[in-house]
């Protein structure tokens, strides 16, 4: 067991679960990423084990665990949870104090976040209703074209004449993709067309929080060079990208930063920090969903 402060940030997204282990100097000690699958809690536990193995530390060495992302409440061994909006804002503000608007294109939603000079959220907009506005749309298009997710960006950059994908609905957009394929359009032009269409919708969302520069991109899309180029073209300005490969880990990094801030405050106030929960720890029951025996709940005569 070490005496150093180590804080883990775990971002349980709809598609990927990411984690960052920070020490008290705010240096990244290790990271890990894996698919969330259909058991986000299990993915969080696995990714946490992986990050500890990568850093060569044990569970009891980790001082504090912050979760974020849509599965943030599903992790029983967390100390606290934080919304991904706050995490992205803090992480981006840490790297780029001049950034005022952040874009995060996730698997199931897009987030546009406006922040102030201290990395605090001032306004935000989410697009989580329409699948045509999410990373899942790109993944699906890639699958039609026989591509892996990681190949999307480089493949699309080969495009010379991107085709227009006009539908605002993912279902119709897919039909368009199939029609274009049947019409003999080059796959890279279709892929680039899908990226340009998604990028356009993302910039529309950014406009709704107020397009104030500098701009930053966070999330898995930071690996996609074609998307970065499409967004920068629409914005007419460069996008800042989290350094050192932290793009996809931005939410987890923000969670870890906030966790460290919390630890510093608790230490300064002389307050105890509980050890992370074990497997056998008790989880309080939700009595609002408890179903009593029918005879006991009768409310009518």
């Amino acid at each position: 067991m070490t005496n150093a402060i180590l804080v883990a940030g775990i971002d349980i997204g709809s598609t990927y679960t990411k984690t960052v282990l920070l020490d008290e100097t705010r240096s990244v000690r290790a990271t890990a990423i894996r698919r969330s699958g259909y058991k986000p809690a299990a993915a969080a536990a696995a990714v946490f084990d992986e990050v500890m193995a990568n850093a060569g530390v044990a569970k009891e060495d980790v001082t504090y665990i912050c979760t974020t992302g849509y599965g943030r409440y599903m992790v029983p061994f967390r100390h606290t949870q934080i919304t991904e909006l706050t995490c992205h804002a803090v992480a981006t503000g840490y790297h780029f104090p001049a950034v005022r608007t952040i874009l995060d294109i996730g698997g199931q939603d897009i987030k546009a976040i406006r922040i102030d000079e201290r990395g605090r959220v001032r306004a935000f907009r989410l697009n989580d209703k329409c699948a045509a506005g999410t990373g899942a749309f790109l993944e699906k298009t890639a699958r039609y074209l026989g591509l892996e997710t990681g190949e999307i960006g480089a493949y699309a950059l080969r495009s010379e004449r991107p085709v227009e994908i006009s539908s605002v609905c993912a279902v119709f957009a897919e039909s368009e993709v199939i029609n274009h394929l049947a019409g003999g359009i080059a796959p890279e032009d279709i892929m680039e067309g899908a990226i340009v269409a998604l990028g356009g919708r993302a910039v529309q969302l950014m406009k709704r929080v107020g397009l104030e520069g500098d701009f930053a991109l966070a999330g898995g899309m930071t690996h996609n060079l074609a998307m970065i180029a499409a967004l920068e073209s629409k914005l007419g300005a460069p996008l800042q990208l989290p350094p050192n490969g932290l793009g996809q880990l931005n939410g987890a990094f923000g969670a870890a930063l906030l966790g460290l801030r919390r630890v510093e405050r608790l230490v300064a106030e002389g307050r105890a920090i509980a050890a992370p929960a074990g497997d056998g720890d008790i989880k309080p029951r939700r009595w609002s969903t408890y179903v009593s025996s029918p005879s006991a709940v009768s409310v009518s005569a």
């Binding site: 409440y73 100390h79 606290t80 934080i82 029951r285 609002s288 009593s292 409310v299 005569a301």
Partner: protein, 385 residues
Amino acid sequence: MAITASEIETSLTGILARCHELSLRQHIGEDEADKVIGYFPVYFPEEIVHAAGLRPHALYGGGNRVEVRYADARIGSFVCSICRSTTELGLNGSLNGLGGFFAQPICDAAKHMAGIWGRNFPQQDPQILALPQNVNSAASVRYVYDEYQRLREILAQKIGHAITDDALRASLRVYNENRRLQRALYALKREDPARLSTVEAYLLIRAGTRFRREEHNELLRNALELLAARHIRPMDKPRVVFLGGFCEQPPLEMIETIEDVCFVVDDDLLIGQRWITEDVPEDGDPVWALAESYIQRSAASPVQFDARKRKEDVLMTMMREARAEAAIISAAKFCEPGLDDQLALSRWLDQEKIPYLVLEFEEKMTSFEQMAMQVETFAESLLFV
């Protein structure tokens, strides 16, 4: 042999499941017909009913399990949920077994409940128990005493014989024990909120409105014994106090939504059940002792003005004793006393720079997503700013 953590949870779950069932139970069984006296919150001197050999039945509305159909023809939609759903329970027959009904002039809506009851259920002999608006008058104890004696007479007529002082003293003893157990429960919650959630404490207290206090005392004793041995790893959450549950009760989902991200270390939920804050003297005139305790040894609520208990001071004391760093000031929709206090307390909290969150609720709320986002943002601001 020491009891294991798993055995503690199993036993506690059994107790809480029973409390949960009792809390939802609105229908008065045939076996209790005419032996139950219903009353509208906030406070009612249950000891006098208990001494008569009857069971006091607090009417905390229908919660989110009752569809208001018949009551719409009697009460406007701009009236709070608890008045509407209580009337619905009367009209749908759930409360046919009541042998009496008491309302109190705590607000415009509640004071008319006796009139509504009189028109629709005259056989239940609805009455108003007029607790004083001015508790600071020198005559206030005498006034309460006279009202309690009137209640004693009404109940004596129902049972066909007088309610003796000895019977009243015996009831005071039972209720004093109940108050001690409730205080112990809240002390434990303030000390270690992870060990006893607010919903659990709420269910344990609310169960007392559905059976005799002797049985409730037994239940609380068992629960406290188990809770003393329970250990739950505390998550890192801000400590807050919750106000707004003095009359209409918020849905359990709302309390759970708050507790997902905060420790509620003190509250005014079911405050009428905990109204008298110390033991009532068991010697002397028992009715006088009860009346004096109502004035001199009592909690506070938005439905009463007491110059000795400035609302801001009451909140400050509550926060200090519970080591809370923030407050959640809620009110039921259309609740004038609650909303008045919400405004006054918000201004004061602003002035004192104490973090707070304002929420509104009603019995039939179904969506808590927006509230969850508000509470989570509030908790984040407390933890990280």
